[in-house]
Subunit: 204 residues, 2 copies
DNA sequence: CAGCTAAAATACATGCATGTATGTATAACG
DNA sequence: CGTTATACATACATGCATGTATTTTAGCTG
């Protein structure tokens, strides 16, 4: 029923909201377009008008939430800092602090982590997340490589193991937080964990 | 076709093997029983003879692989040790060391983590994993609670945050390892990370 | 006010996975 | 050696999600 142009954009957003809700509740594969339409108070017709299919809808939802990593990290900024490790620690803690305030990011990230199969028809959409992860890991490793060059990295670590441990710690914190919910205080567990880890990077 | 009894058990195992393979390749939700049957060189009839449906097949596969956590940790053993933290660190490192040798556990755990939606029709099967996770977390927290009572836990930590950080670190290590594959040396990243974390638990 | 088109709703065709019913060959058993 | 239950394969019915075609409604334009 041909509403105004702003109205159409509004229903597009409503469809994306509904998709987030139903994907979160039922998982991606188990969710049908009818269910999303019903959640949004419409029919599948509206969805097919705005999106080509479920995959494109999923990717649109993914795009709408800028994941925390992309929000704060800038490799150039890190590589330029005088104390790279201190800056990385500081930035990471800031991400941990801000994460709980981003409801949408939280829900979408939770869908990507726990409510979506990593392969199958969603391969393309998930490849983008994996690429973003890889890209992130590479940039982190570059930071540690530079740190190693300056002799500021403890002999216990190499650039690769240091980057791997950092990524494991951060991703572990986020997934446990998303999995457990309110019982998990991201900062309370994350700050001492990362502090200890970064102290170890420096120890001679 | 009525083969001998051992033959039947053999095809049951073959079906489970095929399920692991196809689940790993395509994800759980995207896998049909026909595909599993084809991979095993049979028809769906064989599957429906041995298993009630896909969910029961999945649970059987889950049961066949004893996950690493259940393999090594025994809370009673830990609580009885004279130096609980040292024992926990030691046991954890042993798990990290042995994990790469368990091909089946690795594949099944990878399915549970990355190739299976956390909710939906598989709810029941996945609830078992979540219960096991919760149970594990509770036992770990109990260890840290005892440590705290004896005054051996640094003031920086509480039993809860310490347990959370431990679980985050371990689960982060495992998921990164499973996600990245050969590029991730579990021990090389895990040993210094956990050493640093446990040193922090002790610091006064 | 008529006509056009954007924004949906509705209707329809197709495919496919599931579950179940039935068929069948053979091992086990008396 | 005949019977029976086992271990499957095959055939069939059902439901349901998808994609597309068609229709309806209402803004916009002249």
């Amino acid at each position: 029923m041909r509403r105004t142009k702003e109205c159409a954009e509004q229903t597009r957003e409503a469809i994306l909201d509904a998709a987030e809700t139903v994907f979160f509740r039922q998982g991606v594969a188990a969710t049908t377009l009818s269910q999303i339409a019903a959640e949004a108070g419409m029919t599948r017709g509206a969805i097919y008008w705005h999106f080509e299919n479920k995959l494109e809808l999923f990717k649109a939802m993914q795009d709408r939430a800028h994941l925390p990593k992309e929000r704060l990290f800038d490799a150039g900024q890190l590589l330029g800092a005088e104390d790279m490790l201190a800056t990385l620690l500081e930035k990471t803690l800031e991400v941990l602090r801000l994460a709980p305030t981003d409801e949408r990011g939280k829900r979408v990230y939770s869908i990507l982590l726990f409510r979506c199969e990593y392969i199958g028809e969603m391969q393309e959409a998930l490849a983008r997340m994996r690429d973003s992860d890889d890209d992130f890991a590479v940039r982190i490793e570059r930071v540690f490589a530079r740190t190693e060059e300056t002799g500021a990295l403890s002999g216990e670590w190499t650039a690769k193991t240091a980057a791997n441990a950092y990524c494991a710690a951060v991703s572990g914190l986020f997934s446990q937080w998303l999995k457990i919910g309110d019982g998990f205080d991201l900062m309370a567990a994350g700050r001492p964990l990362l502090t200890a880890l970064f102290a170890s990077y420096r120890a001679r």
